[in-house]
């Protein structure tokens, strides 16, 4: 992956802290039900924000709204827009929750990358450039050896890393991760978190991640937002974990004392 040249010249860090996605008073109604209400959130570049909340809290809906899939009230501003996105939107990288696809489809990892990166039909020819970029992207997430494997044959953890590599090629302005780790074993999780931490260090991008694993994400998140149709609370991991509604949802008071953060 090439390091992104930041347009705000003269900054010592490649992370400027200025580019951001401003979500202002978003509301979403689906089949008569209010699923998101008055969501306001600023996502700064170089920052990882984690969304937690109970099932049906609207976490995935918020990501899909950012992707432009759902009609909504309120406004989303991407400021300033740079990179390779369309005129009115930044480039968004997206890693779906669980890739709902036909596991018997004869689509290799290289095919998926070529179809996203190149105009040559993947069934006919992979351009040298697409091959090279695929190799680089996969190597960065320790998945270089998977390039010729069939997508349907990958394990859950392997598939998530491949999808992450795809979302990062080319490096987006905003990276959306929808529960990237549900159903993934511990070594797979650790590798994924390590990759994400590395990403934040190297690239100038904002990351918004949905997670069920409140304890696991504290180490990598700059900020945690607890969502239950509206934003219940937002702040550092310690602040969010102390919130009564969060404690109730995750059952911290029932089973054990709140986890101690190092």
């Amino acid at each position: 992956m090439e390091l992104q040249q930041h347009p705000h010249k003269g900054l010592s860090s490649h992370v400027c802290g200025e580019c951001c996605t401003r979500i202002e008073g978003i509301g979403v109604t689906r089949s008569g039900q209010r699923v998101l209400e008055d969501i306001s959130l600023h996502l700064h570049c170089g920052e990882l924000t984690t969304l937690v909340g109970p099932n049906g809290a609207g976490k995935s809906t918020l990501l899909r709204t950012l992707l432009g899939e759902l009609p909504h009230s309120g406004a989303i501003h991407f400021l300033p827009v740079f990179g390779h996105g369309r005129k009115d939107a930044p480039a968004i990288g997206y890693v779906p929750q669980q890739l709902d696809f036909d596991r018997f489809s004869p689509i290799s990892v290289q095919d998926a990358f070529s179809s996203a990166l190149s105009a040559w039909p993947a069934a006919i020819w992979h351009s040298g450039r697409a091959r090279m970029r695929t190799k680089e992207a996969l190597t960065a997430v320790e998945a270089g050896h998977l390039i010729n494997r069939k997508l349907g044959e990958l394990s859950g953890g392997e598939l998530q890393r491949v999808l992450l590599a795809l979302a990062l090629t080319p490096v987006p302005n905003l990276l959306l991760l929808d529960e990237p780790l549900s159903g993934i074993d511990l070594p797979g999780r650790e590798l994924f978190y390590r990759t994400v931490a590395e990403l934040r260090r190297r690239f100038d991008l904002s990351i918004l991640m949905v997670s069920h694993d409140l304890v696991g994400v504290t180490a990598v998140s700059d900020r945690i937002v607890f969502l239950d149709r509206r934003i219940v609370c937002a702040g550092t991991a310690a602040e969010v974990i102390a919130h009564p509604e969060v404690r109730r949802t995750f059952g911290f008071d029932l089973v054990a004392p709140a986890p101690v953060l190092s």
Binding site: R64, P96, D111
Partner: protein
């Protein structure tokens, strides 16, 4: 054209002496690769039921053409199939109803309408050749038309191949990469409609969908990537097309159905190959495990 007839006519086979067989062979060679390419995408994107509906609903298109007094109902056929196909996609996009329900409704409704229109006055038999297909409907003049449509539709499919593949993989993922789902899907459906309706009269309404699905389904059993997938599908399509055509000449049977039967045979063979491969792989693994012990 003359070169083709001369070339094939010089073959020492009985069927090669007939002009309609030589024309039909050319048609098979032109459309089989196109069916294969389209079939791989239709199966990947889980649209097999959609293309089936387009084929069956063509009955209504023919009925409307007859009602309007057209000598050749092809125009009415294409127009109605386009209307129905794009209508299904639009309806699904707007209502978010389950795709199979939307398709089943549209298909049942239009078959009923088609049968009612064509059976007026008790003359349905007059149109039964549309159900099973008629090889003689491919005239030398139509070959040019078929080749031209195949060229443009095939080219369009190759241009859109990557987009269609990505959308089939995951719609949100495709959208995050800036693809317009609406236009890609509409154009792809229009391409399916063109291929199905153009070949309807010689293949037959009852089995036109099998021409798309069976070679692709067989190829899936063997392929590990998109290139092999297309390659095997074209192989199965061409083989069953040519073998089915020649078999139908000697057995005096409907050509479309004969082709589909050969393709089904190929499909069963791929199942066998797949099972054999899996068994061999399992044996290798267990032998390697034994060696480690």
């Amino acid at each position: 054209m003359n070169v083709w007839h001369h070339l094939i006519g010089s073959l020492p086979f009985a069927w090669a002496q007939f002009a309609f067989m030589r024309t039909a062979l050319l048609a098979v060679l032109i459309v089989s690769p196109l069916f294969a390419l389209m079939g791989t995408l239709v199966v990947n994107n889980r649209m097999a039921f959609f293309s089936d509906a387009i084929g069956h609903a063509s009955l209504t298109g023919i009925g409307l053409g007859v009602l309007l007094g057209m000598a050749d109902p092809l125009v009415a056929l294409v127009a109605f199939a386009l209307f129905l196909g794009l209508g299904i996609v639009a309806l699904q996009r707007v209502t978010h109803a389950a795709m199979d329900t939307v398709i089943s409704l549209s298909m049942s409704g239009s078959i009923a309408l088609g049968v009612v229109l064509l059976s007026r006055g008790g003359n349905f038999n007059k149109f039964s050749h549309y159900l099973v297909g008629d090889l003689l409907s491919i005239t030398p003049g139509e070959i040019g038309q078929l080749a031209l449509t195949s060229f443009f539709v095939g080219g369009g499919l190759l241009l859109g191949y990557n987009r269609i593949l990505l959308i089939g993989l995951n719609e949100s993922l495709a959208r995050s990469r800036g693809l317009s789902l609406w236009w890609t899907q509409m154009l792809f459906c229009a391409a399916v409609v063109m291929v199905v309706t153009m070949n309807l009269s010689w293949v037959g309404i009852l089995i036109i969908n099998a021409m798309l699905i069976v070679p692709a389904a067989g190829a899936r059993n063997l392929a590990a990537n998109a290139r092999q997938y297309l390659f095997y599908a074209i192989g199965i399509g061409l083989f069953s097309g040519v073998a089915g055509l020649i078999a139908s000449y000697y057995a005096n049977t409907a050509t479309g159905a004969s082709i589909v039967l050969v393709a089904m045979g190929c499909y069963l063979a791929t199942l066998g190959i797949k099972a054999t491969r899996a068994a061999l792989a399992a044996e290798r693994t267990s032998r390697a495990a034994a060696r480690v012990k």
